[in-house]
Amino acid sequence: MLFNSYEFIFAFLPVSVLIFILCQCSGNRRLTSSWLVFCSLFFYAWWNSSYLPLILLSIFINFNLARSMRLLNKMKRLRSSKLVLIAGISLNLLLLGYFKYADFFIGNMRFIVNIEHTSLNIILPLAISFFTFQQITYLVDTYKKQVQPHGLLDYMLFVTFFPQLIAGPIVHHKEMMPQFSSPLFLTPNTLNICKGLSIFSLGLFKKVIIADHFALLANPVFDQAVISPLPNAVVAWTGAISYTLQLYFDFSGYSDMAIGLALIFGITLPFNFNSPYKAASIIEFWRRWHMTLSRFLKEYIYIPLGGNRKGYFRRLINVVITMLLGGLWHGAGWTYVLWGLMHGFYLVINHLWRSLIPPTPYFLRRVSSFLGQALTFIAIIFAWVVFRSENLQAASNIITHMIKVSPDQFTQPLQNAPSLLAGLLLIWLAPNSNEIFSKKRVPRPLNTNFQWLPNLSSAILFSLLSFTAILYLARAQEFLYFQF
């Protein structure tokens, strides 16, 4: 079920919220959690019920492995506990590897050793990348004795909680489990519902009205690039910028909807985006883009690889490996591998620049920040072209045209310039959801007027945003991050 579907908005959401409030009023924690688990499994099964046993099996196995580790840790049998951890991680990676990477592997082997082998045509179970990684973190932290014991029901809710199940934010058990056992979980909170509904409305608007509009500009360019050379640089840049905007509004819109929904159920999810295109460097970009994934990559890949503890050169290699794996996490394809590598090298250049070039004098900081922002944005656009393209040839087709700077490439007037400009102004100047809905002051030039307050104008404004988005739901498209 999609958040931007009629079934979700007009049937699933009202019913699940109303019964959840009744459960809260009963004061029965087990009942309330069970209801949310039931809703989440129903939500997951709506897409394809045949994969429901898979997620349930994964949950039961991981929960029991964690329980075994806890017992072994208690008995001071750390070696056995480590073996269980290795088995658990391997099992999760095998599951992910089979469903996500088997066809990619077979396809490449066929190419290398030139043997005939039909692909398995495996359908990727929805959200497998998200729930697998979430459970690996749980196993690792259990081994490190950083997890408090709790029951199966809470664990199921942690993995399946529907607002974050399909495409994140990738939550950590440390921020979820305490909320499920908190007294606030059983207290109906009108402020949370008001705020949650408003964040959800903003996310829905960003997805349906803004992202889907840019999809209409980006898709034809990327589709054409697969079959024939693009006519000129204007078309290539239109496609590249449109996709850059589409992806941000699509994924940050989805994250807002997830955060808003969770808040309606009294659960606070971490914000996932902090105006990433305002970043003045690639390092800063990764602190602002898909923040929960960056956190995961840092804590569970970069640091275990040695992080910055094993010398400068090794640190740079660790950065590239982490980004390469981050690319592969998004999908089984050479475009994702190259995208990950591009970002890895961008980060290496950024680190080298920081260590080799002395800090900018104070009076030049504004200029340097502006130049940094422009350069970072352009570098990101090139990487998104690779990320979005059907294959490497299509990516090279678009990039070749983007870097052609001869005057004949710019004879065609830039169509859709107003909407592209509006999109760019939004990402550079407007406050993000985090700024609108948190109590922090919004930085200039747009001031505190944009902060959400539960007043009449906000109620009408966010209601209008929802209604407008509903009118466009009929032609809404799937969320981009569903495929990962």
């Binding site: 008001c194 539960p454 007043n455 109620a459 209601s463 209008l464 209604f467 739901l473 009929a474």
Partner: protein, 386 residues
């Protein structure tokens, strides 16, 4: 402001706007639904053809259906006397491909027990490059739409609001219906263009825009085998379920066939016919008529540039008029093949396909020789397109 007040204002504003939009749609009735049972055959709607037709099929009491593209949607009259006792509905969709046609067929057979299906085929329906168009994905033909989502798409969407206002505008102006029992009003579509620009201009505009430069409908790569397989499934289903099925290849003007040859797809077109004749061999109870056989009708004279007369049988080279559609019905719905003094259409089968195709190649050569000026005009247009 108290939080509960905020929540109430938010929800009430939202619900009120939704109720207003749905009420507008129910009042304006842009898809021509919910008309009384006695009047169910005068569906008069103003847009969203696929959405409307899917509803009509579901709600109407039809037992005969016409499937096809815009050619049969404009040319075949479902209210003609020849349908006899049958209550026919024209379910053809403009700008469609065969996947859509097949989905319409599935919708019909899921919901009705049809006695007769008339399938009007066009070569362009079998182009792989032709994607699903119009409001197909919004309609009930698309089986991914549940009843709930269909309701909201039909009554609470940007399209429903736009079409409601258009319906209100049309009814205030007292304009004639755009569709009547599924058949598109050809006069409303073409007469104004012919009066303003002239028949000659319309003919060559069609040749240029709809054929020469339309690689989506007429690609060089030929027709889609997978869509032929879908056609086979359709024929098999009708055969198994004892549903009478009549297939015909819609007539197009000879000038358009000449253009096929000039742009290099004429032999693909003939191979496609050969594939169709193979189907008739497996299912002999399903006749396949070919109306692109260089009869006097499709070879009708194209008015010159200076002439202000319009053609008798065609709107332009691609779309035939109901007058020709009636002759088709006469040929396919009567037991003796119609009382035609002039030959029109041939039944394709394994025995005659080679001779038919040879005859058509020869007739096209003759047509080219006789109409050198038209041929040169087409060649000039092809050059211009490059």
């Amino acid at each position: 402001m108290r939080h509960s007040q905020y929540l109430l204002i938010f929800l009430w504003t939202f619900v009120l706007l939704c109720i207003l939009s749905i009420s507008l749609s129910f009042y304006a009735n842009p898809y021509g639904v919910r008309v009384s049972q006695e009047k169910h055959d005068i569906y008069n709607y103003f847009g969203g053809t696929r959405t409307a037709k899917a509803i009509h099929i579901q709600e109407g009491s039809y037992d005969a259906f016409i499937l096809g593209s815009s050619r049969s949607e404009i040319g075949i009259d479902p209210t003609h006397d020849l349908w006899g006792e049958l209550n026919a509905y024209n379910a053809s969709l403009a700008g469609s491909n065969f996947i859509e046609t097949y989905k319409v067929f599935q919708t019909i057979t899921r919901q009705k027990r049809p006695k007769l299906i008339v399938l009007a085929l066009d070569y362009s329906l079998f182009s792989d490059a032709r994607s699903t168009s119009g409001d197909f994905n919004l309609s009930r033909f698309d089986d991914s739409n549940s009843s709930l989502s269909s309701f909201f798409k039909e009554h609470l969407s940007k399209d429903s609001i736009e079409k409601s206002f258009r319906a209100l505008k049309y009814s205030i102006k007292g304009l004639p219906p755009k569709h009547y029992q599924g058949q598109k009003n050809g006069s409303l579509t073409f007469t104004k263009v012919i009066n303003e620009d002239g028949q000659h201009r319309l003919v060559f505009n069609t040749i240029f825009k709809k054929v020469i430069t339309n690689s989506e409908a007429y690609p060089q790569s030929g027709f889609s085998r997978s869509r032929i397989s879908l056609l086979r499934e359709l024929v098999k289903y009708c055969s198994d379920q004892k549903i009478q099925l009549i297939i015909f290849i819609s007539p197009v003007h000879a000038l358009q066939l000449m253009t096929f040859k000039q742009i290099g797809i004429w032999e693909n077109f003939l191979s496609w016919k050969k594939e169709l004749s193979n189907i008739s061999d497996t299912y002999p109870e399903t006749p396949i008529y070919d109306f692109t056989d260089f009869s006097v009708f499709i070879s009708e004279e194209v008015p010159s540039n200076s002439s202000d007369t319009s053609m008798q049988w065609f709107w332009e080279t691609s779309h035939y008029k109901s007058t020709l559609g009636n002759l088709i019905l006469n040929r396919i719905l009567t037991l003796d093949g119609g009382d035609l003094s002039t030959p029109f259409g041939s039944k394709l089968n394994q025995e005659n396909i080679h001779s038919e195709l040879t005859k058509q190649r020869l007739n096209l050569d003759l047509y080219e020789q006789k109409h050198e000026a038209l041929l040169n005009h087409v060649k000039a247009l092809i050059k211009e397109s490059k």
